[in-house]
Structure formats: C-alpha cells, structure tokens
C-alpha cells in the first residue's frame, strides 16, 4: 500500500476525455425519462426515442442512446448493528476515504468474507498495522473454488502475515460499544466474541439497478438485457456488473471492459451477439499472484489433473484435463501466457503435448527457475 497516488491510478491523463470529445459530468443522475413526456419507448414504436437525463443539479441532458453502466453495490444481509459507525464496505473509492477515517485510533479489525475483496481489505488493514481477523464461511480460503491443495496454500500464506482466520464461521451480529456508540465487537455464528474497532463487510456485491428500475426499465436481480445488451426500452443498453443476461450476471473485472467494447460495436455498427470467450481470471492474495484459464474444477485430483508444487518457493501449477484433453490451468506464483493456453484449451490439446511444450505456455520473467513437471 502507498504504491501510488490517486493521479497514478487514473487510466488516462485528464486531457484525454476532451481530446476524444467525451464530456465528463461528475454528478448523480436522479431520473431518466422520455423527453416526449410519455413512458420510455419500447422497440418497434413509431416515435424516435429521445431521453431526458435529469441530474442532481437540476440540469437536464438530452440523449438518443443511453447505456447503463452503474456497476454494483455491496450486498449486506441485515445483520444487527450493520449501520454502526466503524462498519463499512470496501467497494468504491469513497470507501477508502471512510476507511482512512475509521482506522484513526483503531487497533483491531474484523473482515467478514473470504473473497477477493475481503483479502484485499485484510491486506490494506494489515499494512496499517491493524490486527486483522477474517471470518470465512468455507472450511478454507477459496475452498469452494480451489482444490484442497491450493486452498491450503493460500490459507497458509495469508495466515503467515498474522491474519487470524476463522474458517467455517459467519457473522451473527455487530455490537455497539458502551461509551462511544461505535462498533466494539462482533459475535460470530459460533457464538465467539471478537474485538473490533473496524468491521469491513466484504460479503459480495449485487447489481446497482435502482435508477433503471425507477425509470421503468425491466429488472430482475440486474437490468435485464439480451445478448446485444439491449434492455426492455428502445436504445437503452446495460453493460458490466449491473446487466443480467438470460444466463445470469457476469461480475468479472474484465467482462465490464469487453461489454463496453462490444456495446459500442452494437450501437455503431449493429454488431451481433456478444460472446464472452474462454473464462480467465487473476487475483493477488497478499504476495501470491494467481492466474486461471478455462476450467479448474474444485474436485480436481491426480486422476483428472497434473499438479506441481515448487519445493523451494511458494509456486504451484495445476493443469486439468478431460480424458487427456486440456480443459483448464491455473497457477499460483507462476505466470501463464493467455494466448497459448486459450489455444490449447479451445483446440482440446492433449495434456502430454501441453506438458512437453510447457515453456511456451509460461510468462515468467527471464531467468526464472523453470516449472518441472
């Protein structure tokens, strides 16, 4: 932490938007309505859609096309005490400012949730010298996703930083201190009381649909879209975390980016359906990098996968196959070349071929010790 300033995080310099004729408005949208005064038009109507976007300042912007990219909001589950001062989420930039205020004078923190956000929150709190306890619903870190070896690997790594892990444990309630009205401790599903000056609720996110729903766009858990990101209303699209397809919601960091690229093609060129391509992902658990391509089933074993673990450092690699054809790979501390693995997996390459050309599939820096399977 403290790697970068806010300026370093911005993906483009400030002149970028104006140069590309993109006008940035930093305001909340309060309402989207039809400028014609009727309800929002549907596809197949006779009138040309025209939308009035009403901003918090009272200003109204007119638009022919509207794209919802409203992202997610934290998913909390009505725990007693969840709105106490010192209890917070860890999703938006504003959460960082809240955290900065909350850590003043704090010495202990409880992070609820063992997902990627939970791990990151734990790392941030640890870097500021707080004693961190994590409540993880599963029996090990990511044990509902990772095979046992990898889950164990990550669990030990995180614990080695002094993070206290309470596995098979959920939050029951958050209790107020007697004097200052702030959070004092939490009570877990096992009845244990854990002291907490800060509680970070990192139990996942849900689509942010309130504006769309209130404007009359069809919603379920997310904003309902077809495979061209079209909502129930003409020329209104939804992409990223807030969109719900017929097969569900795709809340991945890169799906938002590829949705954005594709919806632009739909709007400009009338492009066809979006296809998400081979699944991949990556994360960092404290110092451990993780990359995955394709499918690595949670119940992978020596019959369905090859597993390699470095004896000298925290690195491991698992290649999964279905009757010999590679279906997925993931590595911890081992960098993998996306293009090569995507080709191998899509072509159903035999695992022996993949292993014999393994160096082609690695992306580690020069001179890194090789992976020997």
């Amino acid at each position: 932490m403290g790697h970068m300033t806010f300026n370093d995080i911005k993906p483009y310099e400030d002149w970028f938007w104006k140069k590309n004729r993109i006008e940035l408005k930093q305001e909340a949208v309060t309402e989207i309505r039809s400028c014609l005064g009727t309800e929002l038009p549907r596809y197949g109507g006779t009138e040309v859609p025209s939308y009035c976007i009403v901003l918090g300042s009272g200003e109204t912007i007119e638009a022919d096309i509207v794209i919802f990219a409203t992202g997610s909001v934290p998913a909390w589950y009505n725990w007693p005490g969840q709105y106490l001062p010192g209890v917070q989420s860890y999703v938006h930039r504003s959460d960082l400012d809240v955290l900065e205020a909350n850590i003043q004078g704090a010495s202990t923190a409880v992070v609820v949730g063992g997902g990627l956000i939970g791990v990151e929150a734990a790392e941030v709190l640890h870097s500021r010298g707080k004693h961190v306890t994590m409540l993880v619903r599963e029996s090990g870190f990511y044990s509902n996703v990772f095979p046992a070896e990898e889950s164990d690997f990550i669990t030990k790594h995180i614990a080695s930083y002094g993070i206290e892990l309470k596995t098979t444990t959920e939050l029951d309630q958050i209790v107020k201190g007697e004097t200052n009205g702030r959070v004092d401790h939490v009570i877990t599903s096992n009845g244990e009381r854990i002291k907490a000056d800060i509680v970070v609720l990192a139990t996942g996110v849900k689509p942010n649909i309130s504006l769309a729903r209130d404007s009359g766009v069809a919603t379920d858990r997310g904003i309902l879209v077809n495979d061209r990101f079209e909502t129930s209303r003409a020329n209104i699209y939804a992409i990223g975390d807030c969109a719900q397809f017929s097969h569900g919601i795709q809340q991945l960091w890169y799906s938002a980016r590829s949705h954005g690229e594709h919806v632009a093609k739909v709007v400009i060129q009338g492009a066809g359906p979006y296809s998400r391509g081979l699944y991949f992902n990556s994360a960092k658990f404290f110092d451990l990098e993780w990359q995955i391509y394709g499918v690595v089933p949670q119940d992978s074993n020596l019959g369905t996968s090859l597993f390699w673990k470095d004896a000298r450092s925290e690195r491991c690699l698992r290649i999964c196959h279905d009757k010999g054809s590679v279906i997925g790979v993931h590595g911890i501390g081992v960098r993998l070349r996306q293009e090569v693995w995507t080709n191998w997996i899509e072509a159903g390459t035999h695992i022996d071929n993949a292993v014999s050309q393994l160096s082609k599939g690695l992306f580690d820096p020069e001179f890194t010790r090789g992976v020997l399977i």
Binding site: H3, T5, D287, Q291, E366, F367
Partner: protein, 364 residues
C-alpha cells in the same frame, strides 16, 4: 532512514513509497538534490573546495594508479562506492527476481572493473585513461579524429586494441546486440550512468514524469543532442581533412560548448543531482545521445519488446508509476498491445511490479 531500507520481505514491494519523504519529493529529497548538485558543481568547477576530501584518498590513489588523488579520482571513487553500496541494497530488495540480480551484479562489476580499476591501472602504466565500457556518442571524443587516428596508428599494441575496440563496439556490436536484445544490453547491463541510476537511483524511479508532454519534450531533447554531437564530430573530421576550411574554425569551440552544457551541466549536475526530484533517468531519457541511437535501432530494427499477456491487464498503473523512463506502460497494456518504445531501457521493473503477471521482456 527510509532511503536505504534493507529490511524487506520475501518479495519485492513498494509499500509506503508514496508516503516517504525521501522517495516522493519531500523535504529530505530536496535537501539531497541540493547536496548532489552541490557536489557536482564542486567537482566540475570548484575542485579546490574538495581538496581535503581528495587528499584523504591519496593512499588509495597511489596504490591503484601510482599518483596522488585529484578531484576526478575522488569523483570516480564516490561514484563507484555509490554503485556498490546501493547495488547491495538493490540485490537485497529484488533478490527474488533473477533478472534484476544478474543485471545488477553485471552493472556493479562493469563499473568497478571497466570504469574504475582498469582506467586507474592504465594511468599507472602511463597510457591513456581509457574506458572500455563507453562508446561514441556517449563519449564523443572517442571517435574524434585526433584520438582515434592516434590509437589505430599507434605501434603500441594496447593502444591499437583500444582503437579497434572503439570502432568495433560502435559500428558492429552496438547494432547487432541491439537487434537481438534491445537497448537494454547497454542501458541496463553495461553503462556506468545506468549503474548509478539502477542502484542509487532506484528509490527515486517513480518521480519520472509520465505526461504526454514530457514524452514530446524528451524526443526533441534526446534527438537534438544526438544531432548536435553528430554535427560536432563531423565538423572535427572536416577540420581534420581540410584545416583551411572556414567551417573548421567552428569545430573546437562547438566541442567545448558541448562539453560544458551537455557533458557537465546536463549529464552530471542535472542528470544525477535531480535524481530525487525528477527520477533516476533524467540524463538517459532527455540527454544521452547513445540512448538516442540505441532507441532508434530498438524501435525500428530490434527483436526486443515488452509483451502484454492477453487481456489480463487490470489498469492498476503500477507499471507506469514505477517506469523510470516515464513511459506510460499501462496505456499499451490495457489495450492488449505490446510495448515498443525507443526510450525503454529494459530494466524489467514494470514486469516485476505488475500484480497480475501481465508484462514480460522478450526478444522475439
């Protein structure tokens, strides 16, 4: 003292860099810049102030080169010591990354042997103080007619070797090695300026400007200096061939002005003195004509590039922040493009600080 900071965890991290007064332009950084620029001003123009320090090195100077220490010996000793001490810090800090370990050791050895011990030994045996690790146009005088003709035509075998070494390195090795490995073979493995930048300069790498305007300025500056040194070398050869030519009279004064403005003020006072404020590669980025030559070859005729790993870039910005050459690496990586920039010295830190394994230095 977070300037040296040897106590580091198992893997390379930048925790707290932007909160550090030393590393992120706090008051200590300004004071250090003042001390460094002051030292350079004294070495170049007021060496008598340094006389007490210089005389301390007399025993060492007599042992190494057989004569009393002068201010240049003091400068060389301080420079080499900085490379060795901060090189040790570098080795500890990046010890899990073999690329950094190997290149740092190489830089330290080349600096100690080729740029410190060998020149001292040459001076002891009474020949030219020659640096085997510097070439034209970083050391323009090495291809000036007076020097190179004397070396090549010498009947002393060692001097003749120096002459042929200079020509072979400039004309053959530079383009060939840059074709295969990019400019990093020199700018991250051999050069003495790199040795200091990659060791003593490492804590300041994040202070280089990433703005597009800085890139534009850089291209004018670095290619301007290259044009200047090329013209001066040409003039000197012209004057050598035709001493009566009216242009010939400009050659020497032009060379002296270049030596003062570029050789002393730019590469020394600003180039090193401003490390804590503008990053470790001010000279390499904005001034070095050798970097300009290598950069042109790297961009148009080299197998070297930084590869982006598919669509894995999360746009976090660590690569751009810690690029000492001020390249906005993320601008390419987040589009899935490979990075092929003339200024890239191939230090490999972007790949090291990337949290998702997205960048890799490759000779394809």
């Amino acid at each position: 003292m977070s300037y040296i900071e040897l106590n580091v965890p198992d893997s390379m991290r930048n925790h707290g860099t932007m909160w550090s007064q030393w590393k992120h332009r706090g008051v200590p950084a300004y004071l250090l810049a003042l001390v460094l620029t002051g030292f350079y001003v004294m070495v170049f123009w007021f060496p008598e102030i340094l006389a007490p320090l210089t005389s301390l090195l007399d025993p060492l100077a007599r042992a190494l080169r057989g004569s009393a220490a002068d201010h240049w010996f003091l400068y060389g000793t301080v420079y080499t010591l900085s490379v060795l001490i901060m090189g040790a810090r570098m080795l500890v800090r990046y010890r899990t990354q073999r690329y950094h370990v190997y290149r740092t050791i190489t830089l330290m050895i080349v600096q100690l042997i080729a740029a410190y011990l060998i020149p001292a030994f040459l001076s002891r045996i009474g020949t030219n103080e020659f640096y085997f690790s510097y070439f034209w146009p970083l050391k323009p005088e090495y291809l000036f007619p007076s020097n190179i003709s004397a070396l090549v035509q010498s009947d002393n075998g060692l001097l003749m070797f120096m002459g042929f070494w200079t020509i072979a390195m400039t004309v053959i090795a530079t383009p060939v090695l840059t074709y295969f490995y990019g400019k990093r073979w020199y700018c991250s493995w051999v050069c003495g300026c790199a040795a200091l930048a990659e060791t003593a300069g490492d804590p300041f790498r994040q202070n280089s400007s990433k703005k597009l305007s800085a890139w534009k300025f850089e291209r004018w500056m670095v290619h301007g200096v290259l044009a200047l040194v090329t013209v001066i070398t040409g003039l000197l050869w012209w004057a050598n061939a035709d001493p009566t030519s009216p242009l010939a009279s400009y050659a020497e004064p032009a060379n002296r002005i270049y030596g003062f403005l570029i050789g002393s003020v730019f590469s020394g006072v600003i180039g090193v003195g401003f490390y804590p404020l503008l990053g470790s590669r001010v000279w390499c980025r904005f001034g070095c004509p050798m970097a300009a030559v290598l950069g042109i070859i790297q961009k148009y005729a080299s197998r070297f590039r930084i590869t982006t790993n598919g669509s894995q870039c999360i746009s976090c910005g660590n690569c751009s922040t810690y690029c000492e050459m001020g390249i906005d690496v993320r601008a390419y990586a987040q589009r899935g493009e490979d990075i092929k920039r003339a200024s890239c010295v191939g230090c490999g830190v972007c790949a090291t600080v990337c949290p998702r394994g997205v960048l890799k230095l490759e000779n394809r």
